[in-house]
């Protein structure tokens, strides 16, 4: 069996060996056990269900909460030769949706948003398939107490039964014990196999720098950007600030681009591909970036603004040095950042006035957008009353604030940061190492990063013959005139 799995992996996916946790997860599923796998970012969670799909040669349904993530995964699979892959979500036009539904049996991997699963027609079509596997990606969204709660995820247990209790795999990168129990309970899995790997990434140095104000922070950032080489991601919680810093980095001749929700799909594609192929060194991004990014040699992940919580932080720094080489995760903090983040949390949830107002005229919600109103829409759609929503919002606000302050504790700690994270996730705490662990004893030595120097940006002038050369490169046998 063991050898057979490895041979199958190599023949179908071209990998020599499984990564951490993959084989355990696959074996458990092949033994027909419903499985919850908590595997750190960067371990190739999607390979687990691709493998099962290929091995059993049956369609796989993947419930995924984020449209951007879904698109990335679909592109990734198509690139790997799995052309029969499709995403069913709200970004499809009516006619596209019709097309996909009418041809559903043609697809092997079907990604779907939880909202889409509330349609009876969609469910009916899915019921007709002989599903090999039912996957719940980002399964922590099911936990009412978690920061990323999605009301539609609470229906997944019922939907699973409706689809005839197919073999189920719940995936997440980070889940505390409580959240793990919530997932199993809400999916209504009788006997679940729990596979958990520690979140610690030993090759990533953990560091925090504190400042008195933003000017001091900026000055520090620009000074280290001269020392840092190779590929890196800088995360922001504001698009405006991302744009501003990008401009200043360009002035320093660093090749960088922004990535956020305002970019067109084509621009996103280009920026992402330029980064993957090494044409761009640095991405100034909001959290929209990196979901599906598979770049092994990202050497540093800097947080210009603090994220929402340790879960997000661990996910985002997980994009660093997936090849196992030394990388650094650096969080920059100044006191205003906390206020900013508190404000963001507040804005992401509907307030009392909004809840009461729209409870009386739900149809009006269709004319509005925004994260907090989206959530409200979905809660109403799932039959929540105003009182229930208010209660939920209050609990959630408290939870999120608590989680934010946990991150603040991480920032303030004088102890080993690695141990802090491990303790939070109830993993066995690793020992603090003298070399390349965290900044408890001394700051990171940037000269250690093994990577090529930054490309230097040049101003250029247009030459008249250039377009012919571009065409000649685009088309192999193009004749230059």
């Amino acid at each position: 069996m063991e050898l057979e799995l490895e041979r199958f992996l190599q023949q179908n996916f071209g990998y020599e060996a499984f990564k951490l946790g993959q084989k355990e997860t696959i074996t458990s599923l092949l033994e027909h056990k419903d499985t919850l796998a908590i595997l750190p970012t960067g371990t190739g969670k999607s390979l687990c269900y691709q493998f099962i799909g290929q091995y059993l040669n049956k369609p796989v349904l993947i419930v995924s909460p984020l449209i951007s993530l879904m698109q990335d995964q679909v592109e990734q699979l198509r690139y790997q030769g799995q052309k029969a892959t499709v995403a069913l979500n709200s970004s499809l036009s009516y006619s596209e949706k019709r097309f996909v539904l009418n041809n559903l049996t043609q697809f092997k991997y079907i990604y779907i948003s939880p909202e889409m699963l509330s349609s009876n027609e969609v469910l009916g079509r899915l019921q007709a398939l002989d599903l090999g596997l039912f996957v719940v990606d980002e399964a922590h969204c099911i936990s009412k107490w978690g920061p990323d709660f999605r009301p539609d995820y609470l229906n997944l247990g019922r939907i699973r039964h409706f689809l005839g209790d197919p073999l189920t795999l719940a995936l997440t990168a980070t889940a505390t014990e409580n959240v793990a129990q919530d997932i199993i309970k809400e999916l209504d899995i009788k006997q679940a196999e729990l596979i958990r790997y520690p979140v610690d990434r030993p090759n990533i140095f953990l560091a925090v720098e504190k400042f008195t104000d933003q000017a001091q922070k900026d000055e520090y950032l620009f000074s280290i950007m001269q020392k840092l080489h190779g590929a890196g991601i800088i995360y922001f919680s504001s698009k405006k600030q991302a744009e501003k810093i990008k401009q200043q980095l360009i002035a320093q001749k660093i090749s960088t681009a922004v990535y956020h929700a305002d970019l067109s799909l084509t621009e996103r594609f280009l920026v992402q591909q330029q980064f993957l192929t090494g044409q761009l060194d640095v991405i100034c991004a909001t959290s929209a970036f990196g979901m599906g990014i598979n770049k092994a040699d990202v050497r540093y992940v800097i947080h210009y603004h603090m994220p929402n919580d340790l879960e997000d932080y661990v996910q985002e720094i997980g994009r660093c040095s997936r090849d196992g080489a030394l990388g650094v995760a650096l969080l920059l903090y100044e006191p205003q950042d906390l206020k900013r983040q508190e404000f963001i949390i507040q804005k992401s949830l509907p307030d009392r006035q909004q809840i009461n107002y729209f409870a009386k005229q739900k149809a009006l919600l269709e004319n509005f957008s925004g994260e907090e109103l989206e959530l409200l829409k979905r809660l109403f759609a799932n039959g929540y009353s105003a009182t229930q929503i208010l209660e939920l919002v209050q609990i959630r606000q408290k939870k999120r604030t608590k989680a934010l302050f946990k991150l603040l504790e991480y920032i303030e700690t004088k102890e080993c940061r690695r141990q802090f994270i491990a303790t939070y996730f109830k993993d066995q705490a690793p020992k603090h190492r003298i070399k390349n662990c965290c900044d408890r004893d001394e700051p990171f030595d940037f000269s250690q990063l093994k990577s090529k120097n930054h490309k230097i940006l040049k101003k250029e002038s247009l030459k008249t013959s250039d377009y012919q050369k571009i065409l000649a490169k685009l088309f192999k046998d193009y004749e230059l005139k």
Binding site: V74, R78, L457, T464, Y467, I470, L471, L474, K476
Partner: protein, 346 residues
Amino acid sequence: MTVESRQWLKYFSPTQSRRPAVLKQLLENHLTTSALFWGKAYDLLEYIALPISTANFEAELALLCEQGFLQKTAQGMLLTKKGTKVVQVDLMNHAQFGMPAFFHGFDWKNWEKMFLLMVQVASELSYQNSNYFVIANDLRTQYRFKEWLKKYGKERLLSEVQTSLAEFLSQEDPKLATLFCEQLTGHNQLGKTRNQLATIYDYSLTDLEVLWLDMCSRYAQFLLTKGQALSELVHFYKRNSLLSESNQKTYELFLAQKKLTEIAKIRGLKLGTIQEHLLNAALLLADFPFAQVLSSKLTSELKSFYGETPILEWDFKTLQATLPDISFFEYRLYQIERIIQDGVRT
């Protein structure tokens, strides 16, 4: 696309004060009969659906008034002397749409996706590579393209894309052709974003956007005139008629010599709506048969009534006192016919 506020000035005039409201409606493709009438009178119809964002329209115009480039009037805004000077300079120094009228009835957003996709696929084909990330992750574009490819085949794609691009670009300013090509994606070659081009070369983002959209649209037009297989892809995105579907139906019945009341019955619409459809047709099409509505007797009555009065100063009420049987529809139609014949002096 957003423009720097100064660039609004070129759409204004020192004498035609209703321009702000008319322009906004035309740009937003909100084609009421009144917007079309004033658009025709002011010669602004070529700006229908031009890809310029009106999101900050009012705020930007207010700013231009404050700076003395525009001047508020009872009916709207006029270009000041100071504004006129700026327009002359800006027209020289900034990119302009070469064929703005093409955007009317042109789904340029989806054409852009299709165009980038066909170039990428052709490029990868020429290197015989089938393993790549597809630039347009949009099901409908991919589907339409696949259907086309099934029909015409890979060789046809590669040869038509190469030769049409080469021929089209050979007629362009080579520097601008380069800026255009820099944005194309193909085998081992990723396009640059306009943000990146603005950084590398000395062009503003607005100019780069105009240049790109202008060339994208003119290339589409080029393919249409060539009439080869690729033109079928353009047809998905360019409407044949300048009239909306409903207006077109009314107009066809009208051309089939049906009476207006009859058309209203067939279409299940009010007579007033049918008349609006026909006014729209008269405003948008070059060959509207005015004589089918306006008898030569009525035409000569109207002509003698108005004499030398400037067309835009005509008044329906005083006319009605003399010719009580005339309808507003007939009056407006005659007015349009005269605008087309004589033009408007303001």
